[in-house]
Symmetry: C2
Subunit: 200 residues, 2 copies
């Protein structure tokens, strides 16, 4: 914004613009919107920001984000703690929970291996996973990282650590997305779908 | 987010989702991003929200947003205070300032007439405009509201109040946008461009 604009508004717009996917135009629009909100609503928003950052941390068991010591999923006696689904982010946990079909527990790595970006195994929550497994009772680990180069590399790396421990290690199936159109599937996906075809 | 998510995160996502143009998916992504920020950066963000709301208010003269009593434009002795450009929002002031061609002052109405939505003249900063003009020294008022039904109605209404005072009241020109393609211009714009054609 030009220098005729009120400085606190410029600062607020810059804060919004620092968020991912929000450009300067949208940030200005949001800053102006804040001006039209009640003072109490703005203070609630500010409090929500600080509260989330202060009170939410990793679950001591699965590393998912929670405001408790142990997250509700790890704490749920009805869930099968012998199956661990390993994912990259807390968002992936939400995606699996939406299916309402998975009854095991999770482990959130908080990233994927990417040596070029300096993300080595010690930056991920891998040792927490090993510590968890060493306590016993785990039968299967499902590697549910994204089907990308980094996701595959991370799955391979973690699987390499777990297999010597005598665990069953599996990977999510690759194939056509349900409702997708064959014509638009890329070659690799189509090849995987062919390779992993099932009897009817 | 489902109930396995940390409550402070859900609350924060809802706050983001209450902003215009931000859906629940984006709001969740932003809430997760906040988790990855430094605690100091989150507190700065929260402070920027509250500061903007607390310290920014309407200029006593032109009603534009400012943290001072009188905004820098009204306060600038080099600007021609005999010409007032009447706009809907502070964003419109920014748009005019970007042209670097306008040397008059502004008046921000903070809305447009829309009786269906309950926005009657008393909800706009019209009486402040009249009070300003009654002090004398104003020669021309440029109605620079948007070329929409509400913008036109507001311009007509304000012009109707000002003309009896013996002021020159003008309206922004309608025509083809510079760099636009004639083929894609709508009929009304093209008609206006034809009607207001200039000698070469």
């Amino acid at each position: 914004m030009a220098d005729h604009n009120a400085l606190p508004l410029v600062i607020l717009a810059e804060k919004f613009a620092s968020l991912p996917g929000i450009g300067m135009k949208t940030a200005q629009r949001l800053a102006y919107h804040v001006m039209s909100m009640d003072e109490a609503a703005v203070e609630d928003f500010a409090k929500a920001l600080v509260d989330a950052k202060k009170n939410v941390h990793s679950c001591k068991c699965c590393q998912n984000l929670t405001e408790r010591d142990i997250c509700p999923i790890c704490d749920d006696a009805e869930r099968d703690s012998s199956v661990i689904c390993v994912v990259e982010t807390p968002k992936d946990v939400t995606a699996f929970e939406r299916t309402k079909e998975y009854n095991g527990v999770y482990h959130v790595l908080h990233g994927l291996l990417s040596p070029m970006d300096g993300i080595t195994p010690d930056k991920l929550r891998v040792k927490e996973l090993l510590a968890r497994i060493s306590k016993g009772g785990v039968k299967e680990v499902i590697m549910a990282t994204n089907p990308t180069v980094e996701g595959d590399a991370t799955a391979m790396y973690v699987a390499g650590l777990l297999k010597p421990l005598g665990l069953k290690v599996s990977r999510l199936a690759f194939g056509l997305p349900v409702g997708g159109i064959l014509e638009y599937a890329d070659e690799v996906t189509l090849f995987k779908a062919l390779e992993n075809r099932n009897d009817m």
